[in-house]
């Protein structure tokens, strides 16, 4: 500090990095909130320390992972994969029209408003909650999981697809329309080529997301490896739990690797 003021000849000694009181106040509020929320949630240091002991024991029982029931494991994983693939396919097929209806530059306001409401409802609930409702409606098993993930896919893909359609250039649409094309032709030759690569991007992303969630919907009985995982937890088979977790993580990483390549192919 002394150096800079000497160099400026003592004219202006403004601190280049003034303290920002609003920012400090903000940090103080965050701190107060953390203390308050921790007390209401019964989060305390003692419990944390006590838990660490259990944590050590718990981790000890998780190694070595026990792959002896690999048949059950493989069956569950396969069902999760199938749920993810079918749900993504159906979700993508449904998202195309719904997303299109929600685009404000393509449709009259009342239609796009309704489509947006459908998307908002699909997006608000976690797939596991939706899965509970479908388990009640269509019974235990993969079908409930598929339907739950279709809802989640529509919420995500249709929203982004609508945004992508709203950003397109209307010049090409007008050119196609000027040539006397029908409504379907306008969409196929004027709109879709502009949004298709982004659509494939969202779709592969949603496939990854569905794969993650399809390993979870089993917790509420909607098929897939989640049911096996939850059962193993409840029976305290922690070595089998760690085997399942390792397999799930491996499958998810493999899925991300493949979908990353797929995105590059269609860029």
């Amino acid at each position: 500090m002394a150096l800079t003021s000497a160099a400026q000849g003592g004219k202006s000694r403004r601190n280049p990095f003034p303290a920002s009181w609003p920012a400090r106040l903000g940090w103080a509020l965050v701190l107060i909130y953390v203390v308050y929320a921790s007390s209401t949630l019964d989060v305390s240091w003692d419990r944390f320390i006590a838990g660490l002991g259990y944590g050590g024991e718990f981790l000890g029982r998780m190694v070595p992972p026990n792959f002896s029931r690999w048949k059950l494991l493989l069956e569950g994983l396969l069902e999760s994969l199938e749920i993810a693939v079918i749900a993504s396919t159906m979700g993508i097929l449904l998202s195309l029209p719904i997303g299109f209806l929600a685009a404000r530059n393509m449709m009259p306001a009342w239609i796009s408003w309704m489509a947006r409401a459908v998307i908002a409802i699909c997006r608000s609930f976690h797939p596991v909650i939706v899965a509970i409702l479908f388990v009640k409606a269509v019974g235990f098993g993969a079908l409930a999981g598929i339907l739950a993930l279709v809802v989640a896919s529509v919420g995500f893909i249709a929203k982004l697809f609508a945004e992508a359609v709203e950003e397109i250039s209307l010049k090409q649409v007008e050119a196609v329309r000027a040539s006397g094309a029908t409504f379907a032709n306008v969409i196929i030759y004027g709109v879709l080529p502009q949004v298709l690569s982004r659509f494939i991007g969202f779709s592969t992303y949603q496939l990854d997301s569905n794969l993650r969630n399809s390993t979870m919907v089993g917790i509420v009985g909607a098929g897939g490896i989640g049911g096996t995982l939850f059962a193993a937890f409840q029976r305290f088979d922690y070595d089998f739990v760690s085997a399942i977790l390792i397999s799930i993580i491996a499958v998810i990483m493999l899925g991300e690797y493949i979908s990353g390549h797929a995105r590059r192919v269609f860029e």
Partner: protein, 268 residues
Amino acid sequence: MTPEEAVHRHFQRFTPRQRLARWTAMLVTVAAIVTSLRHVEIIPEFLYDAPEQLLDLLNRLWPPDLEYYPLEVHDALLETLHIATLGTVLALFLALPVGLLAARNFTRNAALNWLAKLILVSSRSVNSLVWALLFVAVFGPGAMAGTLAIAFRSIGFVGKLFAEAVEETQVGPIEALHATGAPGFSVLVKGYWPQVKPAFWSIALFRWDINVRESAVLGLVGAGGIGFALDAALNLFYWDRVATVLLSIFAVVIVAELVVTQIRKRII
């Protein structure tokens, strides 16, 4: 190439290799869909029955039992919001150092980069429900397990995006600070932080929005919040109470999204 050949040249948008890759990708996709459809176990009777059952479910859900809201839902809803917020704050603090370690321009040590990336990937690969199951087993049922689950799931997300933001910073201000002889911490606070601040708050808001949704289900595995009330109502088949819980989750999620959009418009 003679002019004759140039006229008759056949143009194609993609190289043969690109076309092969595209066709393979499509073929694999179709094969995956067909195999899944043939192999998956769906009981057809359940499928035919589905519309009727869905109507029955809606009949049971409507009208919602609004008197149940002040009894149990309100407190649980507040707990959910606290879990989401506290979990996000904890995740931000934990993710900052990991993100800095993962940024290749800030930490010039391949082994540390790799270690940080490993932490981020493992945090992201485990679903928040699984994190919740693990923490319930360790700390017992309750909001503490939920908060830690939200935090641990968010570290990977926040850390990854934060590391990317740090890697995109311009070197100019940082070199200038180094040239004045500023110590490492000052370079971090005055050189990097102002450049990544907007990205950081945007990531934090985005994650908080996601966490509000995610914390609503943690109660299903015993990790506190509104999911607990939902689970209780479901197990007793009080569908009108289930409807109340679902409506309140819906309202909170919509409000959270509106709050996030407004803050983002004003600040960033």
